[in-house]
Subunit: 335 residues, 2 copies
DNA sequence: GAATGGAGATGAATCGATTCAGGTTTGTTT
DNA sequence: AAACAAACCTGAATCGATTCATCTCCATTC
């Protein structure tokens, strides 16, 4: 039914080996053959069967990307960066969104292993080092995205989350805030811990007394942000914090929506808010949101490049790529 | 190197055929064999080679999804819906984001054809019917997403865009607005035309005179929305429209940002805005955005289900699935 | 006890691209 | 004209899972 390399060979009057060579190393074939094969391919509408190619040559043309939260524009940007680099190499991306669910994370790792992806990019939710080690044993390079590899066993591309947390808190303190609430969770997400740790460090190093309390959320979503905000303003006003540092922008946007009392927006006069990631919607919020920017596309692009390099060289050693975060000040922390 | 079905067979003391049967039709194999094979698989850590399977059996376990705009939360939700259905069937999604670029769209179609995906979901940008027809000839079912198939040649899953456009305009008119500007583009995107057509129909059927002008954008992005908004308020105030109907929520959010004069927000008092899609961020906007909601997850889930059904039955006939849009009123059209 | 049938197991052939040892042609050198 | 090298081609073997025609047992029937 489908047109195979054999049909092309017959049509062009050459052997299958030659057709394969035209496809893969055209410079070792005479110009004559190249043009005849090319024409035959054209006429027959031949498309290479990637399954056969993968089976025989062992080279895969797909890379898996397992993402923590597909609804988060930050990750969309990271994926976009990875795509840019992937298409440059004729590689397609197998996409999996775990939505902060261990089951889904395992599922996708299984699925991508069967698919024998060339490499794997992952923004992990649970502890997956065991699984990743196994994938690597099978020749699938793994790169952690948006997450520093603590033990240095895998390459990673991320920003310095602790520094980001510090910058956020320092900014709040510089704005005159003294009672900071960190809103985020769950705390088995590494970045959440790091950002909080950075904030605490900033508070300790401040030359004024600054408190940092934690308001835990179940997930990093707008809805959880709304809920956390409601809990906060249900306290007597004297117990309100004067600044909120949200673990990501989605939470921050949620907080913003609930920080309205008697039709009056508490932000930024009464309470300042700063988020994390600087997603495109942060600037469009009810009160434009200050945030810690990550170079998201660059993270994706770099991660994909590294994964390809590592599959090309099995003796490469894991490396940690860390980009600096950047403070973006908008109205939500004015004053 | 890798563990193959042959190794499993040896270990379990059975033939390769039996191992394959255990994997694919366990009920035709004795319980004895099943358990021995299962154990061998466990011990050896065997993982099925999908390339070989695909080559021989001709069944693919991936479905391609080509998306118009990966930065648009609407599409993220659609993808999420498709994912849900896909994982249920052990299928992985090859993801491609065209970002409203013809070249990228063609690229992904080529890539996915080589990959021999089982089926293809596509929110098309350009005219791809030729390419899709060809894919179908090769046994790859194609389903249009967020886009009605005009000629009925392909199955599609979408909402009634014309009705959505009508609802939006009728709502604006009911709010007392008479000078509507439709902001969107490019007009080779079918949905844009439909939404505008719906709005025009509503204007004509109104029992009061209503004008509909078009402010064209180059893309459906926040940035283009900002630019369009700036163009609008640069007119003398008497030439301002009193309502804006944005072709999608991203544009609407952009418009919102630029509709501020002398620190005063023109929305909704001076100018009303309604968007389209009802993305999660619409509710969190500076002025919460009225919008026309699409059942995005359901669209994705349905599309994937249809594509699987069609690959199972080569004689299935294309069907158009159309969901109703839903008006969501928020503050941006108050008064 | 021979015949029949059913349940299960076997293993060679197969899918299509790649690889590579060996073959052919052409051109150059002595 | 023989020898040799370079440039190209050829086609069988191969990757690993699936398929299916055959075969082996064993129980049942007459």
């Amino acid at each position: 039914m489908a047109v195979s390399i054999r049909d092309v060979a017959t049509r062009a009057g050459v052997s299958v080996g030659t057709v394969s060579n035209v496809l893969n190393r055209p410079d070792e074939v005479s110009a004559e053959s190249v043009s005849r094969v090319t024409q035959a391919i054209e006429e027959l509408g031949y498309v290479r069967n990637d399954a056969a190619r993968k089976l025989r040559a062992g080279v895969s043309t797909t890379v898996g990307f397992v993402v923590l939260d597909g609804q988060n524009p930050f990750f969309n940007d990271v994926v976009r960066g990875a795509e840019d680099e992937a298409t440059k190499h004729g590689i397609a991306i197998l996409y999996g969104n775990t939505d902060e669910d261990h089951g889904r994370e395992r599922l996708y790792l299984d699925l991508f292993e069967e698919q024998q992806v060339r490499g794997l990019l992952i923004a992990p939710y649970g502890d997956v080092t065991g699984r990743l080690r196994r994938l690597r044993e099978r020749g699938i390079a793994c790169v952690l995205v948006d997450r520093f590899s603590g033990d240095g066993k895998f390459s990673s591309v991320s920003i310095d989350s602790v520094a980001g947390g510090r910058m956020a808190a320092e900014h709040l303190i510089a704005c005159g805030r003294r009672r900071i609430a960190f809103v985020g969770g769950p705390f088995d997400i590494r970045q959440v811990n790091d950002r909080l740790a950075g904030a605490r460090a900033a508070a300790e190093n401040a030359h004024v007394p600054v408190s940092v309390e934690v308001v835990a959320t179940e997930a990093m979503t707008v809805a959880e942000g709304v809920a956390a905000g409601a809990r906060i303003i249900s306290r007597p006003p004297t117990a309100w914090p004067d600044a909120l540092f949200a673990a990501n922008d989605l939470i921050a946007l949620g907080l913003l929506q609930s920080l309205i009392v008697d039709g009056r927006m508490l932000v930024p006069d009464r309470i300042a808010i700063i988020g994390f990631d600087d997603i495109p919607f942060a600037a469009a919020a009810a009160v434009p949101l200050s945030s810690i920017r990550q170079p998201s596309r660059m993270i994706g692009r770099t991660a994909l490049r590294i994964v390809l390099e590592e599959t090309a060289d099995p003796y490469s050693i894991p490396r940690q790529t860390v980009f600096p975060p950047e403070l973006v000040v908008r109205r939500s922390t004015a004053g």
